[in-house]
């Protein structure tokens, strides 16, 4: 299968410091890739570089065979959607439907009004994320989980080929986490969207992702299926000796548990 996204030798940083370097991987349609790693490993920087919020210092991105840097910004936004980690910082409340509609902007341009098809796509996205009943509510009144879903609905309304999700499970309780990640995986599979998401929880990462990319100090430490990446050796090198890795008694999926330091 031809890769949807091809990353090679990618380096990026802020100011004088280089945060990530030598990153290379490929992602295919419908594939979910979870990026894990300790705080400060460069996960968000990687995601922002992939989403063209930060210019790469070296290396390249190829989207469906085209160098991403040469695509006009709006054409790129029709293929790649990014849902940021920080909750949306709207200057003032917007209705949920208006907020999700912004996902249509890259398709409709800056002047033309949304048409019937756009409104249908927005309605479908809200339906798919079960926020249709909230359409008339103001974004400021949403709970953390509802806001996450509104962000995802906006990304979905972009009809992207690739979704970049920064910590989609952050600040959610266990129930919401598993529900949202299940939904993301289902969307990837049913619509053939490639998903790259960052996440801290290994168990959830192993559950929702096809492959795991482990970042450490800005380098790609390991890349592969959850069982291959989450092994005793790798985890202990990156996170320290107090980690334990063992297979789940029922599913066989690797489970990573920390021991409290005395």
């Amino acid at each position: 299968m031809k890769p949807l996204l091809k990353v090679s030798g990618l380096a990026c940083g802020h100011g004088a410091s280089t945060v990530i370097a030598g990153i290379g991987f490929e992602v295919g349609p419908g594939e979910v890739l979870a990026v894990v790693g300790p705080n400060g490993a460069g996960k968000t920087t990687l995601l922002h570089t992939l989403g063209r919020l930060l210019p790469p210092r070296a290396g390249g991105l190829e989207l469906e065979g085209t160098p991403a840097g040469r695509m006009p910004l709006r054409a790129f936004a029709r293929k790649v959607a990014l849902a940021p980690q920080r909750t949306v910082e709207l200057a003032w409340p917007m209705r949920v439907e208006e907020f999700v509609s912004l996902g249509r902007a890259p398709h409709r341009g800056w002047l033309l009004p949304y048409n019937r098809a756009d409104r249908q796509i927005v309605a479908n996205a809200m339906e798919r994320l079960a926020i249709a009943p909230l359409a008339g509510r103001e974004t400021a009144s949403l709970s953390g989980g509802e806001l996450r879903r509104a962000l995802l609905a906006r990304a979905l309304a972009q009809e992207p080929r690739l979704m970049l999700l920064d910590e989609p499970a952050a600040y959610l309780d266990l129930h919401y986490q598993s529900e949202l990640l299940g939904l993301i995986r289902a969307l990837a599979k049913e619509q053939g969207i490639a998903v790259i998401l960052t996440i801290h929880d290994f168990t959830l990462a192993a559950l929702c992702a096809d492959r795991i990319a482990l970042l450490h100090n800005g380098r790609l430490r390991a890349l592969g299926k959850p069982g291959a990446v989450f092994n005793d050796d790798t985890i202990k090198t990156v996170y320290g000796e107090q980690m334990e890795v063992f297979p789940h008694p029922h599913s066989g999926m690797p489970v990573v548990l920390p021991k409290l330091r005395q």
Binding site: L73, L82, E89, A91, P106, Q120
Partner: protein, 342 residues
């Protein structure tokens, strides 16, 4: 199609005709108010049969009150729309052409042009509005740079930078005017803003660029919507942020500059109108901008009518009325919404 979205559209469907009707009533009442009172019924009759008016009545209505009322409506609309634009640009609902110093910048530019020997009133294509435009753009850019590029302008920084710059520029305007030996009352009237003595000539000069600027900001509705969500979100939706910002600054400054050249410095309309519009219709700019325009027009026509009647036959500058109304409103918004933006 969602129910709630349909409800918003339905509400917009009756709100706009209601606002247009309200504006019509305000204009009708305003035409009748002043040193000589004319009843609304008589005005309505005269509007349909212009020949029926007696000499002095006709002059008062067609030559004095109609042009100034029309001008007040369009200047009010333009200031409101430019306020909505600046609020989107600064991502802060407290921004207003007056508060952020754009009006004072325009006044400074205009004053310099007047002192260099171009009169505002007489020449059709005078450089006064051009100089005002340059002044407004300069002031906005300075405040923008001070408040921090690309970030949510915190209320504190924005207000401090805007008011400091505004006060300084007003002082410079006063200084220029006094050193230019202009009559005091004339200066004061202009600094406080008003529509006294405005004629069809002023309308001819000011209406085309004001209407153009409003249409321009309405066309920029979607970039404004996208910018409200922050720079990262805007860029990931494919918006060329710098170009969008430049366009918004240019068009909103044009509206401010022409308004100031023709009516002086009038504050707070650009704050009140978009705020009410946002409460009525939500934050989406495609509806927010026309609704702000209508509300701004209604506010300004009423303020002008008040200005003519509270101390009749003496006229109060409109800027005093809007400041008396807008000041408390501003403090109210600062109190209820401000803390979130600091």
């Amino acid at each position: 199609m969602s129910k709630a979205g349909a409800w918003t559209r339905w509400r917009a469907g009756w709100l706009f005709p209601a606002l247009v009707g309200l504006l019509g009533v305000a204009i009708l009442l305003s035409l009748g108010l002043g040193a000589v009172k004319v009843s609304p019924a008589r005005i309505a009759a005269l509007l349909f049969d212009p020949g029926a008016a007696s000499g002095s009545e006709a002059t008062i209505l067609w030559q004095l009150r109609l042009p100034r009322t029309l001008l007040a409506a369009v200047v009010g609309a333009a200031l409101a729309v430019s306020g909505a634009g600046f609020q989107g640009l600064f991502r802060n609902p407290l921004a207003d052409p007056f508060v952020i110093g754009a009006s004072s910048g325009a006044a400074f530019g205009a004053a310099v042009a007047v002192l260099l020997g171009f009169d505002v009133a007489v020449r059709g294509l005078s450089p006064v509005p051009v100089a005002a435009f340059a002044g407004a753009i300069g002031a906005v850019s300075l405040v923008y740079a001070l408040a921090g590029l690309g970030q949510t302008a915190s209320a504190g920084t924005l207000l401090l930078a805007g008011s400091a710059l505004g006060t300084m520029l007003s002082a410079m305007v006063s200084f220029l005017m006094i050193s230019g030996e202009q009559p005091w009352l004339h200066i004061l009237n202009w600094m406080l803003g008003g529509f006294s003595g405005r004629s069809w000539l002023h309308c001819r000069i000011a209406l085309p660029p004001l209407l153009l600027a409003m249409a321009g900001l309405w066309l920029l509705a979607r970039p404004l919507d996208v910018l409200v969500g922050g720079d990262d979100a805007a860029q990931s939706l494919g918006l060329p942020i710098r170009h969008a910002r430049l366009a918004i600054v240019a068009v909103a400054s044009l509206a401010t500059a022409v308004s100031v050249s023709v009516a002086g410095v009038i504050g707070f309309v650009g704050l009140i109108a978009p705020h009410i519009a946002r409460l009525l219709l939500g934050g989406g700019h495609r509806r927010l901008i026309p609704a702000s325009a209508l509300l701004g027009a209604i506010l300004m026509v009423c303020a002008d009518a008040l200005a003519r009647s509270v101390l009749a036959p003496v006229e109060v500058p409109v800027g005093i009325i809007t400041a008396l109304l807008g000041g408390p409103f501003f403090l109210f918004v600062l109190r209820t919404r401000g803390p979130r933006f600091t």
